[in-house]
């Protein structure tokens, strides 16, 4: 017990509580946490497993199939496992914690907590996909209803929710395009897919994986996909156009109908990558622009959490003539009862086990149901307002430019360039990102190839407040100021993160890359004991 002292008189000056500084002081948790293999000790247990009833005989495993030595997994008590992972979680900056507008093209928005409650309920989490249809009418109804919602949102005729993610949905669309032309006997002739350099790499990569040759359109002087290049590329070999609109630059291609018409006139199909749909929900749809297929990333546009890079969920929407090729099974409704239809002879088959990433389908359904038509439109309009507000703020920062389409607004995101700052200071966009971590936020440059030099893509979405956007812009302005006034501060960042700059050389050299603990021990430690 401490002795009780009468308080000394305090002057008003001493009692002054200073307001918070303009920029947030931030220090990320840094537990200096060991690798899990360096923790625990032999014999410790994290969980106990049911043993068979004593009357049930153990099974003899033939020697060739028996494991020779136990796997060298960590041996840890339960609290040690929990503590290790909670420390790692503290060393991770989820979207719930930061103003996550720096991961442009990925539509980082708020994932409502109540939706997570629905998917943790055993009546979703503990459903088996081969249960009798009578016992899963609720979840089949959710899947079917979500299909109908996305049908209206896209304007297309039929939807499949089976693809496991956005890229899986791109691939699913390409597989349906392949099946469509195969059924018409045109597949040998139509072996080319046209895409654009600003589209997600998966458009090009999925087309190639499915056996198509890829033709890439580059932007014209204003940053729009080059229509002359399209006219030169299109022809009897064209199977499809895979295109995003707005592109990842944030620029909406006003001639999109003409693009679609040119490809249709050549006999090709048009597939709309709607990864950037968030800014145009309820404003314009794939149907009105003339597309034959489109896809959505449910984890982006429809607010399911991004989960460190998945599980995600994808949706494919198609016109009637492509519906026979949709993945099987489809969910059908006769007015009273939902059922799964596996009898679809022209289907491209299964895209994943069972019916889709169901927890995310439930979340996306709940999100759309909570907003309705008015709310989706408000989300789109607010996202676009936020984007142009941030554009207005960022444009005033020295060293930043906004390439292409001068004087035109941007839709959901903007691809900026720090080229001027780079020329003035030698610093790269990546350096700015590393310094941004010191202010408690995430920043990513952009996809390769860097057509826009020293790129930065910001996508504010509808989830962030005006204060959030002001704070993010102030962080960038502060880093730009530092770049010009004390560039070493930026060059040596991060200073307040869990770790310092990674030396990446070892990651590309087969002699030193270490994908696992045992590879690290063999290659780096030379087999040394822990």
């Amino acid at each position: 017990m401490t002795a009780h002292h009468a308080p000394a008189p305090v002057s008003p000056e001493d009692a002054r509580i200073a307001p918070k500084p303009r920029l947030r002081r931030f220090q990320q948790a840094s537990w200096d946490e060991k690798l899990i293999f360096e923790l625990g000790s032999p014999g410790e247990r994290g969980v106990l497993v049911p043993a068979p009833d004593p009357s049930i005989a153990p099974v003899e495993i033939p020697p060739t199939l028996r494991r020779a030595a136990p796997p060298a997994l960590p041996e840890m008590s339960q609290q040690q496992v929990l503590r290790h992972y909670l420390r790692l979680s503290q060393e991770n900056l989820g979207a719930d914690l930061n103003i996550d507008v720096g991961q442009g093209t990925c539509t980082m928005k708020y994932s409502p907590k109540v939706n997570d409650q629905f998917v943790r309920d055993p009546r979703i989490a503990a459903l088996h996909p081969l249960q009798d249809e009578d016992t899963v009418q609720g979840v089949l109804g959710i899947i079917h209803s979500l299909e109908l919602l996305l049908k209206e949102i896209s304007g297309m005729d039929r939807v499949s929710l089976q693809p496991a993610a956005g890229s899986a949905a791109i691939y699913t669309n390409v597989a349906m395009i392949r099946a469509y032309f195969a059924a018409r006997g045109e597949l040998e002739q139509r072996d080319e897919v046209i895409t654009t350099i600003f589209s997600h790499p998966s458009n090009a990569a999925c087309a190639k994986t499915a056996g198509f040759k890829v033709i890439t359109l580059h932007p014209d002087a204003d940053g729009y996909p080059d229509i002359e290049a399209l006219k030169a590329a299109v022809g009897p070999r064209t199977a499809a156009l895979l295109i995003t609109n707005p592109e990842d630059t944030g620029i909406y291609n006003p001639r999109i109908e003409e693009f679609v018409r040119i490809v249709h006139e050549a006999g090709g199909l048009c597939s709309y990558d709607q990864a950037n749909a968030n800014g145009i929900l309820g404003i314009t749809r794939a149907r009105e622009a003339g597309f034959d297929l489109c896809h959505f990333n449910l984890h982006k546009t429809f607010s399911t959490p991004h989960a460190c890079g998945g599980p995600a969920a994808g949706a494919c929407a198609v016109r009637e003539e492509l519906a026979p090729y949709l993945p099987r099974p489809t969910v059908e409704f006769d007015g009273e009862r939902y059922r799964l239809d596996d009898d679809r002879p022209e289907s491209i088959g299964k895209m994943r086990p069972f019916y889709g990433v169901v927890p995310n389908l439930v979340r996306a359904y709940a999100w759309i149901m909570s907003l309705g038509a008015e709310g989706l439109r408000s989300a789109a309009e607010t996202a676009v307002l936020n984007n142009n507000y941030l554009l207005h703020k960022v444009r005033q920062i020295p060293g930043v430019s906004v390439p292409y389409a001068q004087g035109r607004p941007r839709v959901e995101q903007v691809r900026y360039s720090w080229q001027k700052l780079h020329e003035d200071t030698g610093l790269h966009s990546e350096d700015i990102g590393l310094r941004a971590a010191d202010f408690g936020t995430h920043y990513w440059t952009s996809h390769h190839p860097y057509l826009v030099p020293e790129p930065m893509t910001l996508e504010p979405t509808e989830s962030y407040t005006r204060d959030d956007l002001d704070e993010y812009a102030a962080i960038l302005a502060e880093i730009a100021r530092e770049a010009y006034e004390s560039p070493d501060t930026v060059r040596t960042a991060p200073h307040r993160s869990t770790i310092h700059r990674v030396r990446p050389e070892t990651l590309d050299d087969p002699a030193t890359w270490a994908v696992s603990w045992r590879a690290y021990r063999r290659k780096i430690l030379g087999g040394a004991a822990r």
């Binding site: 099974v59 890079g309 299964k350 069972f354 709310g375 309009e381 993160s497 063999r522």
Partner: protein, 459 residues
């Protein structure tokens, strides 16, 4: 037109009209319509979307969802013997605690600086899977085991430069569908029928197929679609290698506390699904795939997916992480990369890592022993039911197994009668054949109850 002018939703802070107006004024825009100037009128939707009225309050939404959930009856409420690619295992509470943390659940593609924890957790997942599989390279999870099998076979095809893929063990029809679609441009898939008596690989038939040449890979599942862990798995490796092909084995990682990992009997690439490692069934939404190889450059170079590596930082004594050989990927090279990579199923990898750390070597051995014992016991019990034949008598089974109904009733009828008795099971695999599955969550009494119910039903 700004139709949403007075719609202020808790998820959309700047929908407050006065805030909107102030922001527009600061930008110098008259209305939000200014920002849509590039979208031609001809492709506008000139009406509101035709959607149900919103359930704006959380209370209304919860009530609506509750009504829908009430129309499901889960495997917690009844006794379930369903498996066939999605498994009912106990998920330790700590797994759920970790994967539901906001920091992991809502993070995305962060850098090693603000997302160090994600990189370390996924590297540790790779490392623990590598111990289980006795290899040095395991990828960050892909979508599911089907995708992993398709990719593993394409990897084998690129390494060998050959065309044919031979499937040597009984394979799930849906998995085969996925593999066929995925390898179609480069590979033809031939399923070598298994011996109908033993349910195991027909080595003579496989030998003949291999003699035809041009085989990129021999593929086997362990356990197979019949639930059988084939005693000829090591022999398949010899046959594949003798023909210059790679040996690709799909395996259930939960077996590997007691069963030899594929690398131990000659597999060049192992693949499979980690759903059994602490991931909920979620109506089939909980799958995630792994691919594993030796640390050979020719194999590592063929992974399309992300491989996280341990790396030094500028400060001694710190562990950093990053992408190994990033230039393999479509992220770096678009169509010139290997297949494609995008958002897949990383969080399931973190969860599976927590599961493996909790289980440790002893837990993995015990769960393997328990499931093997339960499977054998269930097969014995059901074999004694008049009207049921349990085929492939001597073969080692893990979790899944099949039965034949000889009493004349169909598998569908028996399944319906079981459901009436509060038991999910008997997935039809033919008119009079069905699949069942037991795991560690079942007790002897559960299995006895199934046998007793079937005794009343099958004839």
């Amino acid at each position: 037109m700004t139709s949403s002018e007075n719609f202020v939703h808790p998820y959309i802070p700047n929908s407050v009209p006065s805030v909107r107006q102030a922001m527009l004024e600061e930008i110098g825009a008259a209305s939000i319509e200014d920002f849509y100037a590039d979208i031609p009128a001809g492709i506008r939707l000139h009406r509101p979307l035709d959607l149900p009225a919103p359930l704006r309050s959380e209370a209304e939404l919860t009530r609506h969802m509750e009504e829908l959930l009430a129309r499901n009856t889960s495997t917690r409420q009844v006794l379930s013997f369903l498996g066939s690619g999605c498994y009912q295992h106990h998920v330790p509470a700590v797994v759920d605690e970790v994967v539901n943390r906001s920091e992991f659940l809502t993070a995305y593609a962060g850098e090693p600086y603000e997302d160090h924890g994600r990189f370390q957790a996924l590297w540790e997942y790779q490392s623990m899977m590598a111990e289980l599989l006795d290899v040095e390279v395991v990828n960050v999870p892909v979508y599911d085991g089907f995708q992993a099998a398709g990719t593993a076979l394409r990897m084998a095809g690129r390494v060998t430069g050959r065309r044919r893929v031979l499937v040597a063990t009984a394979i799930d029809a849906d998995k085969l569908s996925r593999i066929r679609d995925y390898v179609r441009p480069d590979h033809d898939v031939t399923v070598v029928p298994v011996d109908p008596e033993t349910g195991s690989a027909d080595l003579d038939a496989l030998h003949q197929e291999l003699a035809a040449g041009d085989t990129a890979a021999v593929y086997a599942d362990a356990p197979s679609a019949l639930g059988i862990v084939d005693s000829s798995l090591p022999r398949l490796a010899e046959l594949a290698h003798g023909a210059g092909a790679l040996y690709v084995v799909g395996c259930n990682p939960l077996t590997l506390g007691v069963l030899a990992p594929p690398s131990a009997y000659g597999a060049d690439i192992a693949c499979g699904d980690i759903q059994p490692l602490g991931i909920h069934q979620s109506f089939g939404g909980g799958n995630a795939g792994f691919i594993a190889t030796r640390d050979e450059e020719r194999l590592v170079a063929e992974y399309p997916s992300r491989l996280f590596g341990l790396a030094p930082t500028s400060v001694e004594g710190e562990y950093g992480f990053g992408d190994v050989a990033h230039e393999r990927t479509s992220f770096a090279l678009r169509e010139e990369g290997k297949e494609w990579v995008g958002t897949a199923a990383a969080l399931h990898g973190i969860g599976a890592g927590v599961y493996l750390a909790l289980m440790g070597p002893r837990g993995m051995r015990e769960i393997g022993d328990t499931i093997l014992a339960h499977t054998a016991y269930a097969r014995q019990c059901l074999a004694q039911v008049p009207g049921i034949e349990v085929p492939y008598g001597d073969a080692l089974h893990f979790a899944d197994f099949t039965v034949r109904y000889t009493g004349g009733r169909t598998a569908a009828e028996i399944r319906a009668d079981l459901k009436e008795r509060g038991i999910y099971g008997s997935v039809p695999t033919g008119e009079h054949e069905a699949a069942f599955c037991v795991t560690e969550v079942h007790s002897k009494a559960d299995i006895d109850r199934l046998a007793a119910a079937l005794e009343e039903i099958v004839k």
